[in-house]
């Protein structure tokens, strides 16, 4: 079953999303250059929990007037399968990639009233101060109470908010863009990611937001738990008996999304698909699922577009 949208066939199927814990961290620095460097470092090697300790990505750049310290900022999001598997990589990545990066500071990006739990990352991070760390308290008794740690470092001082809000989130939102050739498919995918960047609370953790090598569970090799998504590889569409690559399609790129809630992921999928369909050469759009047996969320493409 499929339906047409902007002249592109959209398969009436769903992306299978998984429940994960997610958080949002605001990194600020003296200028945009250093904020972006810290964000890129912190979200590196975090495309998929298949082989990474977490999934992470840049949500958006934040203008100085919207950051707590009035400096240029970048919001990054981190996802893990449990609170423990979220807080551990958070701590490691903040410690190795942000604390080390000149002029940076970090702030909670999920307010306590919106969070399902608060992760006390600062409680561990502070020990780097070796006894010279300073607990900073703001707003006691007259404003919203805030806690920070000031950690002395060689360059000056690292400022870190003590607790970070974590939410029960959605990972694994996806759609596959299938095009006439590599150029049109890549252009459509890039446009999709650009559109998704405008949706708050969502990241696309793969390189540039795109995964050109989607995977399926398992392999003919017993030691490998994931292998190339053979049904969607155009290069073997004739030799692979169950190929799902439609006629006229010669390139497929997957957009994978994680978000703090289902509605955000659905909205991001919708704007991404819509943007992709505006590029000539895009033939089909579908999504990856496991028959609804593995994931908690069935993120329907039609429902997403109807909702948008």
């Amino acid at each position: 079953m499929s339906f047409e949208y902007n002249g592109v066939e959209i398969e009436d199927t769903f992306a299978e999303g998984f429940a994960m814990w997610g958080t949002r961290i605001i990194i600020t620095a003296k200028n945009r250059k250093w904020a972006n460097i810290a964000a890129a470092e912190m979200t590196g090697f975090a495309t998929s929990v298949i082989a990474c300790d977490c999934e992470a990505g840049v949500e958006r750049e934040i203008p100085p007037e919207e950051t707590p310290d009035g400096r240029p900022g970048v919001a990054v999001m981190v996802f893990g399968f449990s609170k423990k598997r979220l807080s551990e990589p958070m701590l490691n990545r903040i410690g190795q990639c942000v604390l080390t990066c000149p002029t940076t500071a970090i702030f909670n990006g999920v307010p306590e009233e919106e969070a399902d739990d608060m992760l006390d990352v600062g409680a561990s991070l502070r020990f780097f101060g070796d006894g010279f760390q300073v607990k900073m308290r703001m707003g006691d008794g007259w404003q919203e109470r805030q806690r920070f740690w000031r950690i002395p470092v060689m360059e000056g001082e690292f400022l870190a908010e003590a607790k970070f809000g974590a939410k029960k989130a959605v990972a694994g939102g996806n759609f596959l863009i299938m095009g006439l050739d590599e150029d049109s498919t890549l252009e459509a995918s890039e446009r999709a990611v650009e559109a998704i960047l405008e949706v708050p609370g969502v990241i696309t953790p793969f390189p540039g937001g795109l995964c050109r090598s989607g995977s399926k569970v398992g392999s003919k090799y017993a030691f490998l738990r994931a292998s190339t998504n053979t049904p969607f590889c155009p290069a073997i569409k004739a030799s692979f008996p169950d190929s799902q690559v439609p006629e006229g399609v010669n390139s497929v790129i997957e957009v994978v999304l994680n978000g703090l809630d289902e509605a955000s992921v659905m909205k991001a999928m919708a704007v991404g698909i819509k943007a992709a369909t505006e590029v000539p050469g895009v033939k089909w759009i579908t999504a990856v699922n496991f028959g609804g047996k593995l994931g908690k969320f069935n993120l329907g493409l039609k429902e997403a577009l109807d909702g948008a």
């Binding site: 600020t28 707590p68 310290d69 009035g70 400096r71 002029t103 500071a105 300073v134 607990k135 900073m136 308290r137 703001m138 006691d140 008794g141 007259w142 404003q143 920070f148 000031r150 000056g156 001082e157 400022l159």
Partner: protein, 282 residues
């Protein structure tokens, strides 16, 4: 918010102790009840109605009650003492202990205040639009802790022992402060936009507390050591808070200011910080 208006009439030269001028006390009462509330003058007991015209409306809850004191009451003590909610607006000066031990709500004094304003405050906002005398936000004698929360803004000068024994909360003085500011301080933040007199931070233990001097200092105690001069990121948060939450525009010019960082008081093994803005008027 319902307004209760109290207009002073024939206040005696002997101070009137009127802790009943507080939203927590008047809320839920009738005007007649409020007029009959007891106040103390020396060793005599009087009623509030003898010294104030009482009119306006009364709320059921303290949070919905505003009290307007329509005139100067320099001899009226304890206005707003122990208030937990609502607001008080004094259209003139207030006597000793104004807003002392308040835990919530807002109190605005258009004139000056006498000693012990906001003493041992634990919450809320006390804003004094003129000078505040001695022991503002301090601990009462014998008490181990002064302010434990809330915010005091003095838009003028402040007397001696401002914020002594402070534990939490914030005090901002836009003018100068007299000696012994933050003595025995063990937490909290004090911002002085004018000049700080000597002995500030004497015997302060620290515990995350600091005194920020934006307009220079007379002297730093020899038991404080100069650590470095730097631009601390955390100060940007405070300067934005002063500017945006308290409307103190002058704070904006210190957003990028370098600060000299002193730590002490080593006489008591403390790690309290005194941060002196480099572009302050030393």
């Amino acid at each position: 918010m319902k307004e209760l208006w109290l207009t002073p009439k024939g206040l005696p030269s002997i101070p009137v102790e009127a802790e009943v001028i507080c939203p927590d006390v008047v809320a839920g009462r009738t005007l007649k009840d409020v007029k009959g509330l007891k106040v103390y003058v020396g060793n005599e007991t009087h009623s509030l109605g003898e010294f104030f015209e009482v009119e306006g409306k009364l709320a059921e809850q303290a949070a919905d009650q505003m009290i307007v004191v329509d005139g100067t009451c320099q001899t009226v003590k304890y206005i707003g003492a122990k208030m937990s909610a609502g607001s008080i607006h004094v259209k003139g000066c207030a006597g000793m202990h104004a807003g002392s031990q308040m835990s919530g709500g807002e109190m605005l004094v258009e004139g000056n205040t006498r000693d012990w304003a906001g003493a041992e405050m634990s919450g809320g906002l006390l804003r004094i639009m003129d000078d505040s005398r001695n022991m503002t936000g301090a601990a009462y004698r014998g008490s181990p802790e002064g302010m434990t929360g809330g915010c005091i803004v003095v838009e003028g000068d402040a007397g001696v022992e401002l914020g002594s024994f402070m534990r939490r909360g914030m005090i901002v003085v836009t003018g100068d402060v007299a000696p012994f500011c933050g003595a025995h301080m063990n937490g909290g933040e004090i911002f002085i936009m004018g000049k700080a007199a000597r002995r500030l931070g004497a015997e302060a233990k620290g515990n995350g507390g600091f005194i920020a001097c934006l307009g220079g200092v007379d002297e730093i105690l020899p038991t404080y050591v100069h650590e470095t001069t730097y631009k601390p990121t955390f100060m940007k948060l405070y300067m934005r808070q002063l500017r945006d939450a308290l409307g103190l525009e002058a704070a904006a010019k210190f957003l990028e200011a370098p600060f000299r960082r002193y730590v002490g008081d080593l006489a008591v093994g403390g790690n309290c910080e005194i941060l002196v803005a480099e572009n302050g008027a030393d």
